[in-house]
Symmetry: D2
Subunit: 349 residues, 4 copies
Amino acid sequence: MVVVMAADASSADIEAVVARVEGAGGEAFVSRGVQRTIIGLVGDVEQFYALNLRALAGVSQVLRISAAFKLVSSENHPERTTVSVGGVPIGPETFTFIAGPCAVESYEQTLDAAQMAVAAGATLLRGGAYKPRTSPYAFQGLGEDGLKILARVREETGLPVVTEVVDANDVALVAQYADMLQVGTRNMANFALLQAVGALRKPVMLKRGMSSTIQEWLMAAEYIAQRGNLDIVFCERGIRTFETATRNTLDISAVPVIHGLSHLPIIVDPSHSGGRRDLVLPLSRAAMAVGADGIIVDVHPHPELALCDGPQALVDGDLRELATAVRTLPPLLGRTLALRTGAASVLKH
Amino acid sequence: MVVVMAADASSADIEAVVARVEGAGGEAFVSRGVQRTIIGLVGDVEQFYALNLRALAGVSQVLRISAAFKLVSSENHPERTTVSVGGVPIGPETFTFIAGPCAVESYEQTLDAAQMAVAAGATLLRGGAYKPRTSPYAFQGLGEDGLKILARVREETGLPVVTEVVDANDVALVAQYADMLQVGTRNMANFALLQAVGALRKPVMLKRGMSSTIQEWLMAAEYIAQRGNLDIVFCERGIRTFETATRNTLDISAVPVIHGLSHLPIIVDPSHSGGRRDLVLPLSRAAMAVGADGIIVDVHPHPELALCDGPQALVDGDLRELATAVRTLPPLLGRTLALRTGAASVLKH
Amino acid sequence: MVVVMAADASSADIEAVVARVEGAGGEAFVSRGVQRTIIGLVGDVEQFYALNLRALAGVSQVLRISAAFKLVSSENHPERTTVSVGGVPIGPETFTFIAGPCAVESYEQTLDAAQMAVAAGATLLRGGAYKPRTSPYAFQGLGEDGLKILARVREETGLPVVTEVVDANDVALVAQYADMLQVGTRNMANFALLQAVGALRKPVMLKRGMSSTIQEWLMAAEYIAQRGNLDIVFCERGIRTFETATRNTLDISAVPVIHGLSHLPIIVDPSHSGGRRDLVLPLSRAAMAVGADGIIVDVHPHPELALCDGPQALVDGDLRELATAVRTLPPLLGRTLALRTGAASVLKH
Amino acid sequence: MVVVMAADASSADIEAVVARVEGAGGEAFVSRGVQRTIIGLVGDVEQFYALNLRALAGVSQVLRISAAFKLVSSENHPERTTVSVGGVPIGPETFTFIAGPCAVESYEQTLDAAQMAVAAGATLLRGGAYKPRTSPYAFQGLGEDGLKILARVREETGLPVVTEVVDANDVALVAQYADMLQVGTRNMANFALLQAVGALRKPVMLKRGMSSTIQEWLMAAEYIAQRGNLDIVFCERGIRTFETATRNTLDISAVPVIHGLSHLPIIVDPSHSGGRRDLVLPLSRAAMAVGADGIIVDVHPHPELALCDGPQALVDGDLRELATAVRTLPPLLGRTLALRTGAASVLKH
C-alpha cells in the first residue's frame, strides 16, 4: 500500500500517517519529493485498509498494490491446476468442450441435445434446472424435476453434468445430482452462495459477473477457496458495455489475464456473450486460439421452440463445423481434446 | 412487439411469421415497404417472446416495445405512492432524510451516529448488521447482535430502522428487528431474496444494481410486487462506468426517469455513489433539486475509525450544512421535511 | 510515480530500476517489504514515463500519482477564475444561463429563440452554425451564413454569442463572429483544434468527450492553456454508459470534482445529456444545486420542426418554470443570476 | 421506422402521426392493439427523422430500424471487398500482417523495426509520424521528417507504408509519402478529416473510436465512402469499459459482426487494445481464429527506450512465436499469409 500526500501536506500530517501505521504494527518508508511526499507501507494490507488512512489530514490518495486474493493466486502456486469433473479434466493440457441446452425442458429434449453434444465431441453436459430470469414473468426452470432428467441423461450418455445453483439453500440438493455446480453471472457476488459451494467437495464453475472486474472475480473465487474448495473453473461470458450489437461484450483478453494471475483454469461461453447463433462458431475459435481451457456452448434440437435463449443455440450444421474446430485448433496450441478418464474416445480422429 | 424482416426476406418468410403469431392466438399486421417489411404484433408479449421469432428465416430484428413490468408501472396507477416506514412517509409531498452508520460496530457508535442524525433532521436510522463485502477478508458485520443494537437505539431515539438483508434465509430474522429492509446493489438480481422480501408485510428499499439498467431495476421491483408487497422504495446509488474519479457515477437522471415510469418513490444515496466525503453535500443538494423523495447518508461519530466506508461518512461540520439544506431546498420545490406521524417536530424551524 | 516490484523480483532487478531513475536525474527511494518492494520516484514525472520502467525485469506495476495538468490545476491557483464572455461573467459568484437553438436554421427562428431565451433570464445565446453529425446524410449546419445570422441576432438582442467550431481551419472565421467558441464532445481530443483555439484571445467552452475521464478532460484543457488561452469553461454534457433510458448519463458529480481539481468554471448541458425535453427542468435544477457555474439549454420556437435535436428543446411552458428556478435556486447557494456588465437587468425581479 | 403510441394516445393523436408522415410523402400502416397502437412507416427514413415524430402528442417511442449506411453495407454488395495497399491485399482470402514501431523516432530505429517485421512475415510497415497524445507534455511525433524516414525505409525494405494522419490539413502531405492513411481512434468522429481522406485515391485504415458503437463506426466509414473512396479497412483496437486490467477491452466479436454488416475488410490491433506485451501473442491468435483479415502490431528494436507505448511493443522472442502463428493458423481457416503482388515470398515456408 502506498500513501500519496497532498502537495500542501505538512510535516505533522506525514508524521501522523507514519504514527498510525507503526501503531498498527506496520512499517512506513517516507519518500519526500519536491512536489509531494510518498509513504510506502510494509505489513498486513487488510489491517492498513481498516486504518482509513484516506481520512487523515494531508492524505491525497491511498493506492493498493497487493492483490487481495491469496489461495487462487498464481504467486504462491505457479503450476496450473487441473480440475476433474466426473473424470473429465479441465486444465492446461486439454481443451474441454461442454455442451447442452440452456434450460432443461423435457427428457427427450435434453437427451437429444446431449446426443448432439456427444456427436460433436463434447464430454460434459450443461443444462439448467434453475434459471435466474430478469423478468418474473419468464420461464424459471423445472427445479428438481430438471435435475432428475439431467441424471437420467447422464446415465444414458455417460456425460457428467454441469448445472446452475441460484440459492444457497439449494446447494445440497443440486450437489446430489450434479458433477459440477455453476454459479451464474447474477450471483457472482452472492456471498452466501459462494460460501455454500465453497463448503462442498464438488467442482464449481464461477461465471464472471456481467459488470465485474477481473479483480472482483478473483475475489469471488477466493470466497469459495477460503471454505476449502479449490476445484474452481472461471467462465468468461461477456461483460456489459455500451455496445448493443451483441448481448454482452466477450472480454477475450480475460483469458490470458486470468492465466497470468491465477493457477485455476478458465473457459469461455461464446453463446451467452454474443447472444447470437452466428457468433458462436467464430467466438469458439477465438477462445481456442487465445488459450482458453474449454468452452461451454448452448445446443438445442429445436432452437425455434426453446423456452430460453433459443436464438443463440447452435443447430446441426454449425455444430459440425464446431466439431471440426475443436479437433484441429487446440492441437496446434499443444492441447488435446479432453476425454473422460478411462472412457473410449468418442471421436474418430 | 415488432418484427423487422431482412431486406431479402421472401413472401413465404413473412407468411411464416404471421402464421406462427396467429397460431399462438395473436394478431399480426404486415407493413410492406420498398426496402423492407415490418410486422406489428398485437396480443400477449410474453407468449410472443417464447415463439423465438428471431430464429425464423428472413427475420432481421425483433423489437420489444411493451414494458415487462405491470404492478410497479405508473401506466395503470398514475397517482404516486407514499410508503410509510414506522410512521415516517416517503413519497411525493415530503423529503425524507435517512442517516446512520454504514456498519453497526457497537451500541455507543450507533447511538452517537443516531443522535448526530436526529440533530441534523433525519427521521429514519440506517445501519448495516450484515455487510456484503467484495473481499472475504473484510469486516462482514455483527449479524443478529447488530440488529439488537439497532433495536435498542430505536428505543432510545425513536428512529425507525432501515437495515440490509443479504440472504433469503435471514429475511424473517431481520424483519423482526427492522422497520424497512434494504436489498443492496449486489443483490438486486438475487431473485430468491426478492421473492422472500416480497412475501413480507414490511417496506423494502431496493438499491439499484451497480450495472443494472432502469428497466431491469423496475423488473426487480416487479418480482417483489408479484408476491404482494408494494411498499417499495427505489434507491439510486450510482452505476459502474469508465470514470474512476468517483467510486460510482451517480445517475441523477434516474430520479425523473423512474418518476415517469413508476408510481413508487425513489431516494438517492450520495455517500456510496461518490465514495468521497466532499461530494456528499453537493450530491445531496442535487438529489433534492432533481425531485428525489429523500436521501440516505452515512454518518459516523469517528469516521477515521470506521470499520466500513469511513472515507465517505459525514462528520459534524458538513452535517450542519446538510441540515440547513434539507430544511431550505425541499420547500422551494413543494415538499416538507418528512416527520414521524404523531411525533413532535425534531427540528426547530 | 511509484514502481511496484513483483514478488519474485531480485535485488539486481531493484538496482536496475534505481540506476535507470538516477541516470535520468531522479531520486529513487526503496521500501523493501516482506512480500514485495516498492520504489518511490522523485523528480520529473514525464521524464520517468519515457523511461518505460514497466518494461524492466521484475517490475509488476508503475503507478502514476501526479496529475499531468498544471496550468488548469487549482494546486497552484487556489482562487476560482471568472471567465467573461462579452461582458457576461461565468464564475463562482454567479449562475450563468445560456440558451438558444441547437442549430441555426434561419434568422427568424434564431431571433425567436433568442427572445424566448431573454424572456427566461438567459444572457448568452447559443446556436450552431457547424454541426458535427454522426450520419453523413443528416443536416450539417448553415456554415458562415449561420454565423452571420447569429451576429445579426446579437445586434438585435444584445446577447453575446456562443457557437461551435469543428475544424482547426475554421477557427479564425468563427472567431470573427463569436464571443465564445465551443469545442464539442466529438472534438475534445482533436488536438489540432485545441491548439488553434488556444492561440485565440477568446473564451472557449470545452465540452467533455462522451467517453472521457475527468483526468483526460483536464488534459484537453491544458492543451488550450499551453498556447496561452486560460479563458476556458468546462461543460459537462453526459457520458456514455450502458444505460439507454437517457441519451447519455449526466455525470453530475463531475461538477464538484472539477471544482476540487481546477480553478476554471464548469457549466452543465441538461439538454444533450438527457436528450429528452421532460428531463431538462429537473436536471437544470440539479445543476444549480450541485454548484455548477451555469447551464446551457436548447430552446426552439417550434421544436417539432427543428432540423436538429428537436425532441430535447424546451418550449414555452417549461421555459417559464426554468426561468423561475434560475431566479430562486442560485441565491440560496450564494450566487446571483449572471447579467452583462453595464447592461440593465433583463429580468423584472 | 416504427412509431409506438402511448397506452393513452387518442385516435386524434394517431391520425396526427399518420397525417404528418403522409404529408411528407411516406406511407403509414396502423396496427391497433389492445394495449397500444403501433405505426409502421414506409419511405425515406432520413426524412421521417426530420419530422420529429417523438415530439407529437401521444407518441411514446420512435424506433429506427433501417441502417443509415449504404455504400459500406453488405446488403447491396454481398461479395467481400479486397483492398490493395501498394500491392499487398487485405481481404477474405488472405491474412495480412502489418508491423512496425508505434512512433517513428529515427531512421535506424525504423529500419531495425522494419527488418524485424519482415523477418516475422509482415508485408506492410506501420509507423507514426504524427502522434495524437492525451497529454500536451508527451512526445508528439517527428512530423514530415518522420514521413521521410518511412519513405526511405520503404525503399530499403520494399514494405508499403501505413501511417496516421491527425488533421485534415495534413492529408495531402501525408498522402505523398504513405501507401495507406490511418485515421486513429480519437479522430473516428472528426468529420472534416473523414471527408478529406474520402477525397483521396489512397486506401484508408479506420480505427474504431474507443467509445464508438459498431453502428457509428460504419457511419464514419460511410462519410469516407460518400466522397468516393471505398478502399477502407476497419481496425478494431479495443473499447473503453469499466475493466482496468487491460488498457482497453478488445471487442473480438466486432470482427464477425462487421463481416455480417459490411463488405469491407477488418483487422485487429492486439497491441493497443491490451496495452501489454504479454497479451499481444494470445490476442493475435484470437484475431486469426475469429476470422480477421489481418493484424497490426507494434514492434520496436529497443522497447525499453521507446518514446511511445514501449510497454506493448513485441520484442524478438515473442515475435518469433507470432511469426509461427501467422504461418500456421490462417491456413486452417482457408487463408494464406498476404504477400505483395509480384514480390518474391519473404518467408521461407
